[in-house]
Every structure is written in structure tokens, then in C-alpha cells.
């Protein structure tokens, strides 16, 4: 029974295997396999959750995966309060998204492939949540990265979708190699990648007071955080997330809410022991998060594509979560992750229903007045918009308020930034809401209609969650959710409730909504265009997303391509050139040798022959063949010999 939690990610994995190999045979029923698997996982997750909650025990099961010499790497599952809560969220939201997708993807030729990769995506996320060590977490993490690539680039015949898929994979991959190196560094420093062992090893190492060890562990923490920056789309690796909406809308909901981006935040929470011991790392985390929250909110103000606004709002909300972790408000950050999953999934699926009912138009400037035509979508969307804006008693209010409370106590600057971001959030979310649902439809050509029940039902369930889920985490119920996380002692920051923080956060939310009403109500008092003109350069900067994409193209992508071309030219020209040059040199030498052979070696041989020939010609003259000539020569010879003999004797 101990391995039961391990089944939770395995079931969707099996669903993937079944669907991908039998896609054609299954046809429409592929969705039943996928939903069946995640529903069963959800039931198992509920069982696990209740058991962990009731007994406060940690479920663990593992097996030996790899061994070299005396060292073994074990793989397994470990579920504590944090993991159980995440399992609950991922399976519930994921299943609802899949049910919604049955309606949204109906009639698509690639229906079964879609459900195959969504199942694999779920398997990746669930594997990540249950993992008992960093390596298994990394494996799941990468599988999710691959699925994001396929699902974002799902309409692969569209070049923009294929490009967005690649952008997502490569950008997150930059973070991944940071995490990879961080893991290796951690292994060499702490000697383990298992979370339960790290809980003991890291404080022990930090207690040594060895500056070198501290440096290594801080570096490991920061490198692991680089992984989070990539996956949770924090500045400066945030560029992939807005483009990720090229995928079908249920995928956007999955990536932005239940899976993918939540993984990065979860990673920091899981390895929090490392961060908690080294304040330098925590500070970096807090500031990256705070900056991303504000930065993304500023961009969201001016976007006109309904999904793009939501994408930047995700960036901003993730910034809150990361900031919370960096400030030590561990439980608040995770609580916000859960509430955000519900209202953001709802927002995306609501936007999907709008797009679905509005014939795949995403530009809000053409919408308006959809309240009457899609009442269910509008009502549920309103709940989510209020929740993200931080209006009590909806879920977003409680979790955001607690983050701001943490910031108020830890870092006044971040508190101000966070509160200002809350104002911006309320403004741009209601700008979206008013532009889409109120007034009159600006593009009369399109006949909008409400979505089918299979899409509405998940919206309603999520709306209930988005409205009520904050209550268990509110001070009314004694922060029950936060305490159920089994927050480790090192991450427990007690902050006294502050009426100032709470009052101010409500005030800015209301102010944001009011400003949005003034500018985007059916009969606006302030003309948005005039505001835009007054803002001038700031407005264009926000509209163009601060030109980050262009800057990256100029500083990274183009130089990389140039370097690739240059390397190839170097390879052909210099290295292969040297090889060919060597070959040429040998041939040149060979022909020189040939010449030498021909003219010198052979020349000498020939010269000798010529000399012999010439001499023989000379001597041939005396070889006349006449006997009396020979006799004459013979007698002359004899005479010479006689003379010489006489001379010697004398």
C-alpha cells in the first residue's frame, strides 16, 4: 500500500501510452481514457490528502534506481502536507480542464493526440509533486517541458505556434541547465539529492561555519532558483509564457494554473531548507519575484489580446508567490499558488469560452456586451476577476493579503511594490472584464453564443473554488490551510495581523476597479486614448513589452546564430582546410618527389646510360670486324707491354 501514491502520476502516464499507440482506434473515446485516468488519480490524491491531514504523517516509498560502487541513487515518492495539497490542486484543476477540453477540442482532427499529451503533462506535474528527490523532480520537470513544447506548438502547421513551442522549450531549458548544475553541485557538497536527507545534511553543513561550504550551498540554491526563473517565467526568462498562448486554450489553462509554472514555485518550496539557511539566496528570490510582479503588471495594462492580458497577469501573480517565498512567507506563497490555480484556470477557460463562442477572435477591442450572450461565462468570469483583484472574501484576497503582510514586516520597499501591483491588477483585470462583457459589441459581424454544458460545468465548479477556497486559509479559520502544509520550523515566519495592510490592500483593489470603470465602462468618463497620449513613452514601452523580445533577439539569438555560422565556416575553412591542406601538401611533395625522381634519380641513371652509350659509340669505331685491324692492335699492345716491362727492369 505504501506505493499507492506512486500510482498517482503513473495512471496518466499509462493513459498517455495507451492513447499515443492507439490514437486512431480510440478516436473520440481517447478523452475518456484521459479523464478516467486523472479522475482516478484525483480520488487517490483525495485518499492520500485525508490520510496525511489526519495523521500528519509523511508517506514515503522508494526503490534503488542506480548504483555505482557503494553509492546508490534511490527513486521514490514522499508526500507531506505540502505535497498532498499540491496533489489535490493539480488533480482537481487538471481533471476539470480535461473535461472542459472535451467540449473545446470537439471536432479537432488531432483530438486524441491532444489528450495524449495533456495526460503526459499531468503525469509530469504529478511526478514532480510526489518526487522524494531532486533528480526525479528534474526528470518530471523536463517531461513537462517537452509536453509544453508539443502543446504550445500543437497547431504545428501554423509557423507562429511552432516558433512559440520552441521558444518555450529553449527558454525554460536555460533554466533547466542551471538546475542541473545546481543539483550536481549539491551532490558534491551535501552528498545527497533526497529531500529528507537534505533536511538533515544542509543545516549540519551550514553549522560548520566553513565559508567555502557556505559559498557552494548558496551557489547551489541560486542555481536551483535559475530553474524556477525559467519554469515559473520570472524576469528575465519570462518571455516564453506570453507566447505560450499559441496553444489551444485548455493548454494555456493547464500551463498557467495547475502545472508548469507552478512547478518552479514548488521547487523553491521543496528545497526551501537550502534557501532558509542562506539569506543571500533568499534576498535574490524575493527581489526577482517582486520585480516580476510589478514589471508584468505594467505590461498587462496595455495589451488588447484577451489571452495576453491573462498571460501577463500570470507572470505578475507568480512574482507574488516567488516574492513570498523569498520573504520567508512560505505558507502564504504556497497558499497563493493554490488559490491562483483555481481562479487563473477559471479565467483562461472563461476566455477560452469567449474565444470559442466568438469565432476565435481574441482582440478585446472587437468584443463587448457579451454579458447578455454568454451569461454563465460572464458570471463565473466575474467571480474570478474579483478573486484575482483581491476583493474579500474571495480566495485571492486572503492569499495575497498574507503575502503583503509578510512583505510589510520584512521589506517595506517590496510591500509598496506589491501593494501598487495589487492596484494595477485590479485595474487591468477589470479593464479586460468591462471591455469584453459590458457595453455593446463593437464588431457586429460576429454572432456570439454560449458554450456547451461540458465546458460550462467546469467553470462553475472552479468558480465555487475560486470564491470559497480562501476561507480555510483565512484568519477566520486560524490559517488552517497554511498549518496543514506541515510548514517546517525553519520556514515559519509569524506575522501579526495588520489592519493597515489589509485595509490598504482592499482600498487599492477598489480604487483599481473604480479607475477601470471610469475608463472602460460603457460610457467612459476618462478617454483611454487621452491617457495613453499623456503617458507618452511609458505607454509605448508597456505596449511593446519593454522591448525585451527585441533585445534578446539582438543580444542572444542573432549572435548565437552568427556564432553557429562562424563555427561552421571555421570548421570548413580552418580545421578541414588544414586537413585538406595537409593532403595538398603531401601531393605537392609527392609531385616534387616525382620530379626529383624523373630528373635527378632517373636522370643519373639515364645519364650513366647515355655516357655508356656515347662511350660505346666511340669504342664501336674500333670494332671494325676486320682481322688485320685486330692483329695490328694486338701487336701494338704487345709492343707497349714489352716496352713497359723493359722500362721497369731498367
Amino acid at each position: 500500500m505504501d506505493f499507492l501514491p506512486a500510482l498517482i502520476p503513473v495512471l496518466p502516464l499509462l493513459a498517455f501510452a495507451v492513447i499515443i499507440t492507439n490514437g486512431r482506434r480510440l478516436g473520440w473515446s481517447a478523452c475518456l481514457v484521459a479523464v478516467g485516468a486523472s479522475l482516478t488519480s484525483a480520488v487517490l490524491a483525495a485518499l492520500v490528502y485525508s490520510r496525511v491531514l489526519l495523521s500528519h504523517e509523511t508517506l514515503a516509498w522508494s526503490f534503488e534506481w542506480v548504483r555505482w560502487g557503494e553509492t546508490a541513487l534511490r527513486m521514490g515518492v514522499r508526500i507531506d502536507g505540502l505535497g498532498a495539497l499540491m496533489l489535490f490542486m493539480v488533480t482537481v484543476v487538471g481533471t476539470l480542464i480535461e473535461i472542459y477540453a472535451i467540449g473545446y477540442m470537439a471536432g479537432d482532427k488531432t483530438f486524441s493526440r491532444f489528450f495524449a499529451f495533456v495526460s503526459l503533462f499531468m503525469a509530469g506535474m504529478l511526478g514532480l509533486v510526489v518526487a522524494d528527490n531532486l533528480l526525479l523532480l528534474f526528470v518530471s520537470w523536463e517531461i513537462m517541458g517537452l509536453c509544453s513544447y508539443f502543446l504550445i506548438g500543437f497547431y504545428f502547421h501554423r509557423p507562429s505556434a511552432a516558433a512559440a513551442g520552441i521558444k518555450a522549450f529553449i527558454t525554460t531549458r536555460i533554466g533547466d541547465v542551471g538546475l542541473l548544475i545546481g543539483m550536481i553541485l549539491l551532490w558534491w557538497t551535501a552528498g545527497t539529492l533526497r529531500f529528507d536527507e537534505l533536511l538533515l545534511a544542509v543545516p549540519a553543513l551550514a553549522g560548520l561555519g566553513d565559508a567555502h561550504v557556505d559559498l557552494m550551498l548558496t551557489a547551489a540554491a541560486l542555481l536551483i532558483f535559475v530553474g524556477t526563473i525559467g519554469k515559473s517565467a520570472q524576469f528575465p526568462l519570462h518571455v516564453w509564457l506570453p507566447d505560450a498562448m499559441e496553444g489551444p486554450t485548455p493548454v494555456s489553462a493547464l500551463i498557467h494554473a495547475a502545472t508548469m509554472v507552478a512547478a518552479g514555485v514548488f521547487l523553491v518550496a521543496r528545497s526551501f531548507i537550502l534557501f532558509a539557511q542562506f539569506p543571500a539566496a533568499l534576498t535574490v528570490v524575493a527581489w526577482v519575484g517582486g520585480f516580476t510582479a510589478l514589471f508584468a503588471a505594467l505590461i498587462a495594462l496595455t495589451q488588447n489580446d484577451i489571452k495576453r492580458v491573462l498571460a501577463y497577469s500570470t507572470l505578475s501573480q507568480l512574482g507574488y508567490m516567488v516574492m513570498a517565498l523569498g520573504l520567508g512567507a512560505y505558507a502564504a506563497g504556497m497558499f497563493h499558488l493554490i488559490t491562483h490555480a483555481f481562479f487563473k484556470a477559471l479565467l483562461f477557460m472563461g476566455a477560452g469560452a469567449v474565444i470559442h463562442g466568438f469565432h476565435h477572435v481574441q482582440d478585446m477591442r472587437r468584443m463587448g456586451g457579451l454579458w447578455g450572450k454568454m451569461p454563465w461565462t460572464a458570471w463565473t468570469f466575474l467571480v474570478a476577476t474579483l478573486a484575482i483583484s483581491g476583493i474579500p472574501p474571495l480566495s485571492g484576497f486572503w492569499s495575497k493579503d498574507e503575502i503583503l503582510l509578510g512583505a510589510f514586516h520584512e521589506s517595506p520597499v517590496l510591500w509598496v511594490a506589491g501593494t501598487f501591483t495589487a492596484f494595477l491588477t485590479a485595474f487591468y483585470m477589470f479593464r479586460l472584464f468591462f471591455m469584453t462583457f459590458t457595453g455593446r459589441q463593437r464588431d457586429g459581424e460576429i454572432h456570439a453564443h454560449e458554450s456547451p454544458a461540458v465546458m460550462i460545468l467546469p467553470l462553475v465548479v472552479l468558480a465555487v473554488g475560486a470564491a470559497l477556497l480562501g476561507i480555510p486559509g483565512s484568519p477566520w479559520m486560524g490559517l488552517w490551510v497554511q498549518h496543514s502544509l506541515d510548514v517546517p520550523a525553519y520556514a515559519l515566519a509569524h506575522h501579526h495581523h495588520s489592519n493597515l495592510v489589509m485595509g490598504l490592500s482592499i482600498a487599492v483593489a477598489v480604487a483599481g476597479i473604480a479607475l477601470a470603470w471610469l475608463m472602460y465602462a460603457p460610457r467612459p468618463t476618462i478617454q483611454p486614448a487621452r491617457v495613453a497620449r499623456a503617458m507618452g513613452r511609458l505607454y509605448t514601452l508597456s505596449l511593446n513589452k519593454f522591448h525585451i523580445d527585441e533585445i534578446y533577439a539582438a543580444l542572444i539569438i542573432n549572435p548565437t546564430r552568427a556564432l553557429a555560422r562562424g563555427s561552421f565556416r571555421f570548421d570548413l575553412g580552418l580545421i578541414d582546410g588544414a586537413v585538406n591542406g595537409m593532403g595538398w601538401l603531401q601531393r605537392a611533395l609527392a609531385s616534387l618527389k616525382g620530379l626529383f625522381d624523373k630528373w635527378v634519380v632517373d636522370g643519373i641513371v639515364n645519364l650513366l646510360a647515355t655516357i655508356v652509350q656515347a662511350l660505346s659509340a666511340v669504342f664501336g669505331l674500333i670494332q671494325t670486324g676486320r682481322v688485320h685491324n685486330y692483329l695490328l692492335l694486338a701487336s701494338l699492345g704487345a709492343l707497349v707491354i714489352a716496352c713497359l716491362t723493359w722500362w721497369n727492369m731498367g
Partner: protein
């Protein structure tokens, strides 16, 4: 039963039968015989795995006969944990390549004769325990390969074949000199690897260092290590598909196997003195060739360069002098054999249909060839190191093992991982995604024969990726003992 001799020379039997009894015009008979005699060694290699005891790091199935007694040269065969996987890999890829050779009808008799001779050389290299015998088999490989590229290759086949031959020959000569130096340095003179294992470690350090360089050159050209790699893209591009599979899958492994079998254990001090340079060359290979691969328009050249890039991990992992680094490097050797073989088959499937390898000429093929697309994606993901597939295990263990000695180099090498991901995805986009290029509107999906030559490789890459002990339980006892001989710590 002399199992190793039988395995090594079974292809030779097939060769002789074809040579003596089959009329060259009967293409069908020739290729059936060729495939069958490439399949028998696969069965025999399974028998070797069954008989081999992984927990025993000694040489097993040893066969030892005197050959040239005056010089102490023996016919000495045997296997341990690092040769068994190579034998299996060779048998598997030879069979897969034999299936891939089915459509070769031009001078089929000669083709199969060379193909079978190639197998004899490869098996022999991996089971020899005598340096001289090793050298003989090593050189046997060269000749059929030269003809297979030079006769059945593409337009620039002669240039490529000669380049391959000369390049490798230069390395072989250096290697032979190294072997002779070892032979004369020990008393009594011997070529026997098991005898040398305990003795050469105490040779003077400068001698080891110089001899290591000579042997390194021989193996490095085969691997190939940058900057000795430029024969490879040419040879790959011109070679017919099945020969590319053998080239990437087995021939390159002869180089890395040489490091494992001879370079490191026989000359530990030499290896240690050069370890930093060794690692640097590995990292240059990983990063630099990844960039070069990114610039390719030719599908096959892209795969060839990415193949060179991956071999860099072998060098880096070995240079760490840890058991996990050695395991990772060896894992990469096997994983790369499977993956690069499969990638070249994938290129071949497309080339057979379109007669082009220009990446910009494709586009949107996923719509026409979904099964092919799925296979290409699977192997590309393996090559870019996706967890769950064999390439990841290899990269991770290599980097983990190298980090202790070369932390900064490991840090630089991950740049290659990112670049590899980039060019692999761009390749998939150019081939499979985007709008369908109308030229290929009637393309047929992968055939059953092609699919079945890919499936064993797909199974291998998934199995090794999910459960690495399949391979590691065979290799590790031997590698651990080797590190013991080299005399370095086994941690972490």
C-alpha cells in the same frame, strides 16, 4: 565451446558462402544470406550475455592460442563488463543495418561481402585481449569501410573514402607505435592485455605520458575528438544509410572502447597527466560542434555533427576519474550508438523518398508521415538529453562524475546542452512542422521494414533511460576494478 570465436567468425562463414557459391545476379539470395548471417551474431551475442557473469570483473570466455610464438603474439580472446555491451551493440546495429541494406541491388554480392567482413573486424576488435590481434582487427575494419563508402556512396564518395582511410591510417600508425613502445618497455616483452594490466602502471611517467599521446591520437581520430573530426561529416554524408549507422553506432565506439580498454588502464599516469587537456577537448567538442551543427542545412551533416558533440561527454566523463564519471562515459558510448544509429536511419527513410537532405526543402511532413514523425521526435528527444531516455542518464552521470575535478568545464559544457536542444527542435520544425510543402503531398509513411529496424532501437533507448541498471550492472564491476588499477578514489 569457443563462443567468442564463433561469434566473430560467423559473418566470415556467410561471406565465404556468398563468395564461393552464390551467383552475383541472384540479388535476393545474396541479401537473404547477408541478413541471416548478420542475425546469427545477434543470437550469439545474447548467448554471451547469458553466459557472462556481471559480478565477476575478470575476463571470461577466454580463448588463448599461441599465434606467433617468436614475438609472444597470441590469439587471445575474452570479454568483461566493458566488452559485452559493445558486442551486443555491434550485433544489434549490424542486424539493423542489414535490414536497412535490403534495397541495395547495385553490385549486391560485393556489398554484402564487404558488409560481412566489416562485422568480423568489429567483433574482433571488441573481444581481443592481445594488442597485436586488436590492431589486426582494427585494421580489418578499415578496408571494407573504405570500399563501402567509395563504391556505394554519394557523389563525393571517393574523396570521402580516401579521407576516411588516410585519416584513420595516420591514427592507426601512431597507435601501433604506441603498442610497440609498451611491448618493448616491459620485461618479458608481451602484447597480452591481462598481463600488461598490472605491470605498465609502474613504467616511467614520461614514457607513459608520451605513449599515451601516441595511442590517444589513434583513438581520438576514431572517436572523433575535435580537431580530428572533419573526416566524419564527409564520410557520413557520402556513405549509404546502413553504413552511416555502422559508422556512427559502432566504429566511433571503437575509439572510446580503446580508451577504456587500453588508454586509461594501461597508462594510468599518462592519462592522469593529460586529463585536463582531455576534458578540455571534450568540452570543446560538446560546445563547438553543437554550434557547427546548428548551422547545417544538410540533415545528415546535422546529425553527424551532433554525434561528434555527444562524444565529447565521453571524454569529459572519463577525465573525471570517478566511477560515476566512467559509468556515465560508458553509458554515453552505448546510448549514443543506439541513438545516432537510429537518427541516421531516420535521415535515410526520408532520403529514400525525397532524394534530398536539404532541411529547407521539407516542412509539414508530420501531417503526411505521423509514425515517422513520432519516431524522429523520440530519437531527437533522446539525443537532446530528455529524461526518461538513455541520453539523459549518460549526460547526467558524465557531468556528475566530472564535476569534482573539472567544475568549470562542466559548467561550460551545459551550454552545449542548450544549443543541442535548440538545433534539434529547429530541425524538427523544419522537417515536420509548419505548412506541408506541396512537393511532398504524396509521400508515404514509414514502411513496416523501416519501422521494425527502428523499434529495437526505440525500445533500447527507453529501457536504458528508465532503468539504467540494465547496462550499469554489467559494466560497473569492471569499471570499478579498472579504477582500482588506475589507483584513484571511487567517490562520490
Amino acid at each position: 565451446m569457443p563462443l567468442l570465436t564463433i561469434t566473430t567468425f560467423t559473418p566470415l562463414v556467410g561471406l565465404l558462402l556468398i563468395l564461393l557459391f552464390v551467383d552475383g545476379r541472384r540479388v535476393n539470395t545474396v541479401r537473404w544470406m547477408g541478413v541471416i548471417f548478420s542475425f546469427l551474431p545477434l543470437l550469439l551475442s545474447a548467448a554471451i550475455v547469458a553466459v557472462h557473469q556481471p559480478s565477476n570483473p575478470d575476463f571470461q570466455l577466454v580463448e588463448r592460442l599461441s599465434w606467433i610464438p617468436a614475438l609472444g603474439i597470441e590469439y587471445h580472446l575474452g570479454v568483461d563488463g566493458i566488452s559485452v555491451p559493445m558486442v551486443v551493440l555491434t550485433a544489434l546495429l549490424s542486424f539493423v543495418a542489414a535490414l536497412g541494406s535490403w534495397n541495395i541491388t547495385d553490385r549486391a554480392k560485393e556489398y554484402w561481402i564487404f558488409f560481412l567482413l566489416l562485422q568480423v573486424g568489429m567483433f574482433g576488435t571488441f573481444v581481443s585481449l592481445d594488442l597485436f590481434l586488436f590492431y589486426v582487427f582494427w585494421e580489418i575494419v578499415l578496408v571494407p569501410m573504405y570500399f563501402l563508402i567509395g563504391i556505394w556512396g554519394g557523389p563525393r564518395r571517393e574523396y570521402s573514402a580516401i579521407k576516411f582511410f588516410l585519416f584513420t591510417l595516420v591514427g592507426s600508425v601512431a597507435m601501433l607505435i604506441g603498442f610497440l613502445a609498451i611491448y618493448f618497455a616491459v620485461e618479458p616483452h608481451t602484447f597480452s592485455i591481462p598481463v600488461l594490466l598490472g605491470r605498465t602502471g609502474s613504467l616511467p611517467h614520461t614514457l607513459q605520458s608520451v605513449v599515451f599521446l601516441a595511442i590517444f591520437l589513434g583513438f581520438a581520430i576514431k572517436v572523433p575528438v575535435v580537431p580530428f573530426h572533419t573526416w566524419l561529416p564527409d564520410a557520413h554524408v557520402e556513405a549509404p544509410t546502413p553504413i552511416s549507422v555502422i559508422l556512427a553506432g559502432v566504429l566511433l565506439k571503437m575509439g572510446t572502447y580503446g580508451f577504456f580498454r587500453i588508454g586509461f588502464p594501461l597508462l594510468p599516469e599518462g592519462a592522469r597527466q593529460w586529463s585536463f587537456a582531455f576534458a578540455v577537448l571534450g568540452v570543446i567538442g560538446i560546445v563547438y560542434t553543437a554550434y557547427v551543427a546548428m548551422a547545417q542545412r544538410d540533415f545528415k551533416k546535422l546529425v553527424a555533427y551532433s554525434s561528434v558533440s555527444h562524444m565529447g561527454f565521453v571524454l569529459l566523463g572519463m577525465a573525471g576519474f570517478t566511477l560515476v564519471g566512467f559509468s556515465g562515459a560508458y553509458f554515453m558510448t552505448v546510448s549514443h550508438g543506439v541513438l545516432s544509429g537510429a537518427m541516421f536511419l531516420c535521415v535515410g527513410v526520408l532520403y529514400d523518398r525525397t532524394h534530398t537532405r536539404d532541411l529547407d526543402a521539407f516542412g509539414g511532413l508530420m501531417a503526411r508521415m505521423p509514425i515517422y514523425g513520432g519516431m524522429l521526435i523520440l530519437f531527437s528527444c533522446g539525443a537532446l538529453g530528455l529524461p526518461g531516455l538513455s541520453g539523459f542518464v549518460a549526460e547526467f552521470l558524465s557531468l556528475l562524475g566530472a564535476f569534482g575535478r573539472h567544475p568549470w568545464l562542466v559548467g561550460i559544457s551545459v551550454l552545449g546542452i542548450v544549443i543541442t536542444a535548440a538545433f534539434m527542435l529547429l530541425m524538427m520544425r523544419r522537417v515536420l512542422m509548419g505548412p506541408l510543402n506541396e512537393r511532398w503531398a504524396n509521400l508515404s509513411d514509414i514502411s513496416a521494414r523501416e519501422l521494425w529496424s527502428l523499434i529495437p532501437l526505440a525500445v533500447a533507448t527507453i529501457a536504458l533511460g528508465v532503468f539504467p541498471p540494465l547496462l550499469m550492472h554489467i559494466t560497473d564491476p569492471t569499471l570499478a576494478r579498472m579504477l582500482g588499477i588506475i589507483g584513484f578514489e571511487v567517490a562520490p
